[in-house]
Amino acid sequence: MTTTPTGCPVHPRVLPTDGTPLEPSPVLGEWREEGPATPLHYTDGHDGWIVTRHELARRVLEDPRFSQQPQRIPGETIPGGPELPYLDDEALASKRVANLLFLDGEAHSRVRRILMARFSVRAGRSQQPAIAAIVARQVAHLLTVGSPADLMAEFAAPISAAVHRLILGIPDARADEFARLFLSEAPVQDRVLFARAVIEQKRTDLDEDVLSDLIRSDLSAGEIDWVALVLMISGRDAAAYMMATSLLALLRHPDQLAALRDDPDLMGGAVEEFMRYGTMFVALFARTATEDVELGDTRFAAGESVSVSAVAANRDPQRFENPDEFDITRDAFGHLGFGHGIHGCLGQQIARIEIREAVGQLLAALPAVKLVSAEQLNPLPFAHPVATYSAGSVIVEWS
């Protein structure tokens, strides 16, 4: 059977906004029942597709016939976003190479290869003690704040910022500035200036970190600044989201929480289940077919946009048994929480360690922790129009 994107002109199909991280919109499930891909209306008026079944999702993400350009947005645009400052031609050219998620083929691997060294399993293992120490400091801070406290503001967000600074190599003296510019909204211009100043400072003080690798690479000076900026933004919020959402999932499922407390060896598999069950990306960045593509019974015409719903694919009953059940003992590997294909998350091994340490140490420090409230239990506006779920505050108490 072949379908074409004929979204109803009166009620165009847009991403449902009635879902939450732990209870995604039932609409995604309905679409998945209908077929592996269904029509989707993008904000620029284009009618493309959204893939909701796991098998097709993987095939699309692995297929080089899809490009990251043009980038169309299915989610609600966020009004009032800061305007880009005027950029000269060189800055514009540099900016184009900076975001891995907007690049294809050689242009993509040229930049990704420079960054890979610090994100391998082995590199993660060598950073593990430093990440554990960051988490331990934040647990101590949380205990000082006292019960009740917001796990997002007092725990997850500060950890994500400190780990980001560690891996990238942003000097400690700039911690407050980094937090002010990247943990809340700030003009892009200010962030550009920050990235530039950090690179300038590090040029004379090269170390074992990502920004030093960038400086040592054959990228131009302008390119280095932009890649640095993109990395300062990428994944920091996602890591905070996942720490907060994973803890919330456990607090809402006391049996699973007890199982994890009883057997900390379950943690490795549990992290994969956190990623599957609490998936952030309702849709990954849109891919565009560069030619007519036929995958199984689904045909995408050249020029059509295809969004992959990681949330929907991670709850596909054909791939995961009882997908709406949170079960930390299941084999959740193969989930699309970090994406898949050549754009699969660069930071995933670091993120895994971060989540594991944050959840493990928090549970150990607070044996009687209880949930008070969490904003994300009710639908929140998307954090990013691509679109991703927002974590919100997660208030807990303990005695």
Partner: protein, 65 residues
């Protein structure tokens, strides 16, 4: 079982080294390193799993040998 890796296609996501650490590692640049091109029986399941999880189809498992 024979294992082959196309290092030029590797994007360093590390799924292989995570799920089959006795067969795969990543070198100093983050690129896949084959520790054992002919894994023994107990490693077969993990090796197949790594091949299936690899996001860039770098790992080819030949079951005929």
């Amino acid at each position: 079982m024979r294992v082959n890796v196309d290092t030029a296609a590797c994007i360093g996501a590390g799924q292989c080294a995570l799920v089959a650490p006795d067969v795969f590692d990543q070198d100093d640049d983050g690129i896949v390193m084959l520790l054992n091109a002919a894994p023994s029986e107990p490693e077969h399941a993990a090796t197949r799993r790594a091949a299936a999880l690899c996001p860039a189809r770098v790992i080819v498992v030949d079951e005929s040998e």
